[in-house]
Subunit: 302 residues, 2 copies
C-alpha cells in the first residue's frame, strides 16, 4: 500500500494533491491512500467538508512505499529513513535534500499548483473523470495556490485546468473562491505563535536564518488587529526555533498587497534592502507582493 | 541559448541525449546546443562517426541556461554556481545535491536510458520525426545503456523504442550493437589509470569510499590480459583520488557476467560479503552481474 502525502502543516494543495494522486494510483491498479502530516489548515478543512471528502489519516511517521507531493524539502517532511520513496511530484525549487537508493519517478514543474503538475502527468481527461469530490479538491488547490489567479505564480495551464474543473462541477469560481478564502481568513481560533508557524518556511540568507511566514487573507484587519500581540510573539518564536528573525507577511488577497510586520531593526533592514520599502513604525505595505516562492524568497536571496 | 549536457566522462547516453534534447528544444522554438563535459568514450565516438554527427563542443565550465541530462549528481558536473539550471532529465537514483533558486523542470524516471525518458516527455512520434543522425544516436544510447537489452535495467519501454528506431533506420540491432560494442571494447589506446577512471562512480559504503569502475566489453580477454598492470594501478588511483579502494568490474556483455579484480583484502572482503563470492586469487567471476546501478551499488550498500 502506497502512502501519498504533502508537507507538514498541510494547506489545501498538500491535502488535495494526495487525494487526487491516490485516486489515480488506485485506478491504475496500485493500492494507495492519501495521508496528512498534521492537521489541515482551516481552508483545507473547509474544502474537505464542502466536497464531503473523508479527512485523510494524519500520520507522524513515514514507512513503506511513499509518494511525496508538493515538496522536495526534507525539513518539511518526517524522517524518511524507514520509508521507500517511490515518487516525488512537486512545483517548488529544488532543495536537493532527498536521496534514494535507486532511480524513482520525480516530476517537478514550474506550475502554480501540484494538482496541475499531476494533470500534466495523467492527462486532463483522466482528472475530469475523477469523482466529484476529488475534482472539487483539485479545483480548490489551484484556486488556493493561485489566490484565484491573482498570484504571479499562476500559469495559463493552472487557469485552464481550474476553469475546466469549475465548469464540470457547475461551480462559480468567484463565489467559491470567496467562500474558501473566508474559511482561510477565520484565524480566531489560533494563538499568535500558531499563526506565525501556520504557513511558514525557514529560509537561509547568507549567515541569517529567517522564518518566512505568510498569512493569506481576505480580511487583513482580523490579523492586523492582533498586531501588538504578534510583534510580541515574533522574537519569542524566533528564539524557540533557533532562528534569527520571523518575517510575517499578511497577504491581502483582494487588494493584492502584503503587510510586513517589523519587530526589529533587522526586519526593518530587510524591508528596505529586499523590498525597497521605507520602513518606519512596525508595519509596511508592499504593493503587489503575494507570492513567497516567486517574490518574497527571490527578493530576500537577491 | 540553452546548453544541454550530460555527465563528465561522456558515454553514449551522455552524448546522444543532449543531441536529442537540443534538437527537440530547437524545434520547440528554444535555441539550444548539445555540449560534452570531456572527450566522449570510444563507443560514443563511433556513434558520432557512424551517424555523421558533428561532435558537440567540449566545455569545461557551465554558464547561462543549462539542461542537465543523464545525471543529477553534482560530483559528475562542473560547478553550477554561474549556471542557471532550467531542467534536469535523468534515470539515476536521486542524489540530492543540486539546488535551484526557483522551480524548474525535473523529470527522472526508472528507465534504462535518458533517451527513453525524453521519449516519454516529447512523445515517440516526435522522436521518430527527428533527422536520421539524431535517431541513430538515440538508438545507440538505448543499446549502450541496456547492453542490447541484456542488462536488468532494461524496461519494455526502452526495448520498444529501440526496436521502433531500428526499424525506421533500417538497422539490424544485433549487427549494429556488435559494431558498437566492438568500438567500446577497443581500449588499447588507454593507460591503466585511464581505464580505471573511464566509467566509474564514487560510492560511499558506511565510512568507506570506493571508486566503482565498470568496463563493458565483448572481448574481456583484452582487458584481463592487462590484469597485473591494472592490479598494480588500482591502489595508486585510490590514493591519488583520496579513496579507500578501487573496485574494477570487467563486464562481459556476451556471457553476461562480471570479472571483479581483487587488489587487496578489502576488495576480497567486499566480493565475499556483497556478492557471496569465494574470493581467492586476484579475480573472481560474478555470474549475471552487468549493472552498476541495479546490481553492484545495491549489493555494496546492502
Amino acid at each position: 500500500m502506497i502512502r501519498v502525502f504533502g508537507h507538514k502543516s498541510p494547506d489545501t494543495d498538500s491535502t488535495a494533491a494526495p487525494i487526487l494522486w491516490a485516486w489515480h494510483l488506485n485506478g491504475s491498479g496500485r493500492e494507495a491512500r492519501p495521508a496528512l502530516l498534521g492537521e489541515p489548515n482551516t481552508e483545507a478543512l473547509f474544502v474537505l467538508d464542502r466536497w464531503s471528502l473523508e479527512r485523510p489519516e494524519v500520520i507522524e511517521a513515514a514507512t513503506g512505499d511513499v509518494v511525496v507531493v508538493d515538496t522536495n524539502n526534507p525539513a518539511e517532511l518526517p524522517d524518511l529513513a524507514d520509508a521507500d520513496v517511490i515518487g516525488i511530484i512537486d512545483h517548488h525549487r529544488l532543495v536537493g535534500g532527498i536521496e534514494t537508493a535507486g532511480p524513482i519517478d520525480v516530476t517537478i514543474r514550474p506550475l502554480a499548483c501540484t494538482v496541475t503538475v499531476m494533470a500534466e502527468m495523467m492527462g486532463d481527461e483522466r482528472v475530469m473523470s475523477a469523482p466529484e469530490g476529488v475534482r472539487g479538491a483539485a479545483l480548490s488547490a489551484i484556486l488556493s495556490d493561485t489566490l484565484e489567479f491573482r498570484s504571479p505564480t499562476t500559469t495559463p495551464r493552472d487557469r485552464d485546468l481550474a476553469e475546466r474543473l469549475a465548469e464540470g462541477l457547475g461551480v462559480s469560481i468567484p463565489d467559491y473562491a470567496a467562500e474558501m478564502f473566508a474559511a482561510k481568513s477565520d484565524v480566531s481560533a489560533f494563538s499568535e505563535a500558531e499563526l506565525i508557524r501556520m504557513d511558514s518556511k525557514e529560509v537561509e540568507v547568507g549567515s541569517l536564518r529567517f522564518r518566512v511566514s505568510v498569512l493569506e487573507t481576505t480580511s487583513p484587519e482580523q490579523i492586523l488587529g492582533r498586531k501588538d500581540a504578534l510583534l510580541d510573539a515574533m522574537p519569542k518564536v524566533a528564539v524557540e526555533d533557533g532562528l534569527n528573525e520571523v518575517l510575517l507577511f499578511v497577504v491581502d488577497i483582494l487588494r493584492e498587497e502584503a503587510h510586513l510586520l517589523l519587530s526589529s531593526d533587522l526586519s526593518r533592514g530587510v524591508a528596505e534592502k529586499s523590498f525597497g520599502a521605507k520602513a518606519e513604525g512596525d508595519v509596511v505595505v508592499l504593493p503587489g507582493v503575494m507570492s513567497r516562492k516567486k517574490q518574497i524568497i527571490p527578493a530576500l536571496k537577491a
